[in-house]
Amino acid sequence: MGAFHLTIEGLHVSFGGVKALTGVSVSAKAGEILAIIGPNGAGKTTLINTISGVYRPEKGRVRLDGQDITHLPPHRIAGLGVARTFQNIALFKGMTVLDNLLLGRHVHMRAGVFASSLYWGLAQKEEVQHRKFVEEIIHFLEIEPIRRKIVGRLPFGLQKRVELGRALALQPKILLLDEPMAGMNLEEKEDMARFILDVNEEWGTAILLVEHDMEVVMDLSHRVAVLDLGRKIAEGTPNEVRDDPVVIQAYLGSRPRAARGFGGDA
């Protein structure tokens, strides 16, 4: 896994007249947690969507281990080891937790229509073998009691966890997490943070984390990149970024009033 590298070079994405990303370059390597932060509308989700192939950039390149994946369709990119979760959960709501996770194994399975409909030889062996793998993830995420439950009827926090599980089932080289903590209470956030760290440490999976909760970002990430209005305005360790005046300005508006000395004035 050592050689793994995701490189994004000068990405330009726009929708009509709106420039969502202008010349964003960023990279992540194996075993790294890279956080992408920025105010609303900064282009964080657009960046994830472009990496996973949902959006097509006008300019720029996305490279995975040196291979250009910029114009590959999403399902091919997934096959190369890029998994993601969504800001607003995108699970298969009518299916069980087990089926959702097994779908994460789709790219690793081979059985075709004929073998499947006979449930013979390869198809059965494969199903059982991948079921075993999925059970390991279920164990890891501590969701054993709900494996047969229909996903749409689970509470929000658990759905987020199942979605992480589905992404993990793909055995990704890089995991793109779009606000994994959004809408969670403290306990759920702690669980999720623990899972993210464990995945990163045990499997050496690179993680690209988009998150609004600054405490989480500062605690988890090795490096932070800051986007504002589609541009990268800063990059560095959490501490460097926290003290960067440009970042503070992007988050709090032009120079804080207190600094100018007439706080309280309208």
Binding site: M95, H106, A123, A167
Partner: protein, 355 residues
């Protein structure tokens, strides 16, 4: 079927992933299989057998449409036309090229699958109602072609008479023989579908229905799987068309019009979308309801009016009641008959306790 999983312990994933993991369900299914294979065809008269044949043929067709519409979420109004492709393919091969029945059966299915996946190509770009219109166009194109290309239809009236099906020199010329033949094909179709939807390909279909963007993100080639779904669904339709043709002894496009397509949609909606049991319930319901209604109307009407008066209103009354019952069922249980069945089995699952 009847689920009492209490006390059933599994020690391997193979056992957990079996078609019927619960022993009681297994024996229920076995019991039903024995009844439909042994006492029923022996005891039933020809009329009852011919009705059973119609139901079984409809089950296979409904199953096919459910694979596409219920499981993959692609609405199709061309199911009837895909059946006619199978029907005419088999009829032409059997009469002009003297192919044996089983080869004609397979060829009918394969040809329908090819045509079906061709008309499934628009599904890459359009969904829902728009796809329904596109498949409706397919229905009319196929219908028109059968009707107007004399090479296919054999000229006047667009009908091709087919010989009785024969398997290895044994000619099947009774309703009972047809019953066994159709039952075997339909059973194979049901088992294949059940297996399909507990493995990789079937899961991908359902994933596309539930969330197509997410399906693509986890590595499912949407276009390929949509076409595959069209192909499998149309294969079922084609085989249904072939069976129907041999059942009637004639291939005729009038059996496979838009009305047929809508009827099959009604079957899977009433039976339950995305359910194999639902396909069976729906097919039986839509096929048997008009027959039962006729008996009811004739029986009750005969008490008060003359037979000719009853016959006069029968057709219309049948249609009115038919429509009324469909609306009634959809209001009472929008998820179809399979949901009603599920409610009953869920109740008995823990019986005699409330939960």
């Amino acid at each position: 079927m009847i689920n009492r999983e209490c006390g059933v312990l599994k020690t391997s994933y193979e056992a957990d992933m079996a078609l019927y993991p619960i022993p009681l369900a297994r024996s229920t299914v076995l019991g039903i299989a024995i009844i439909v294979f042994l006492p029923f065809p022996v005891l039933a008269n020809d009329y009852l057998l011919s009705v059973a044949n119609l139901v079984n043929i409809a089950i296979l067709g409904a199953l096919g449409l459910n694979i596409l519409t219920g499981y993959t979420g692609q609405v199709s109004l061309g199911h009837g036309a895909f059946m006619s492709v199978g029907a005419y393919t088999a009829a032409i091969l059997a009469t002009r090229y003297h192919l044996p029945f089983w080869l004609a059966l397979a060829a009918g299915g394969v040809m329908a699958a090819a045509v079906g996946s061709f008309f499934g190509i628009p599904s890459l770009r359009i969904k829902g109602l728009y796809l329904a219109i596109a498949t409706l166009a397919g229905q009319f194109i196929i219908e028109w072609s059968l009707n107007h290309i004399t090479w296919i239809s054999g000229g006047i009236q667009s009908s091709i008479y087919v010989p009785r099906p024969a398997l290895g020199g044994y000619v099947i010329n009774t309703q009972r023989g047809m019953y066994y033949l159709i039952l075997i094909v339909v059973s194979l179709g049901i088992v294949a579908a059940m297996n399909l939807f507990r493995t990789r390909v079937g899961r991908a279909f359902v994933a596309i229905r539930d969330h197509d963007v997410a399906a693509e993100i986890i590595g499912i080639n949407i276009f390929r799987y949509k076409l595959l779904s069209f192909a499998i669904s149309s294969f079922y339709a084609g085989v249904t068309g072939v069976l129907y043709t041999y059942y009637l002894g004639i291939a005729n496009y009038e059996q496979f019009t838009i009305v047929t397509s809508v009827n099959f949609l009604a079957m899977i909606i009433i039976g339950g979308l995305g359910s194999i049991l639902g396909s069976i319930f729906g097919a039986a319901f839509i096929t048997l309801l008009p027959i039962l209604l006729r008996y009811v109307v004739e029986g009750i009407g005969g008490l008060f009016f003359t037979i000719s008066d009853v016959a006069g209103v029968l057709t219309n009354l049948q249609l009115i009641l038919f429509g009324g019952l469909i609306i009634f069922f959809l209001i009472v249980e929008p998820d179809g008959l399979k949901k009603l069945w599920r409610n009953i089995t869920d109740y008995f699952r823990v019986w005699p306790f409330p939960y």
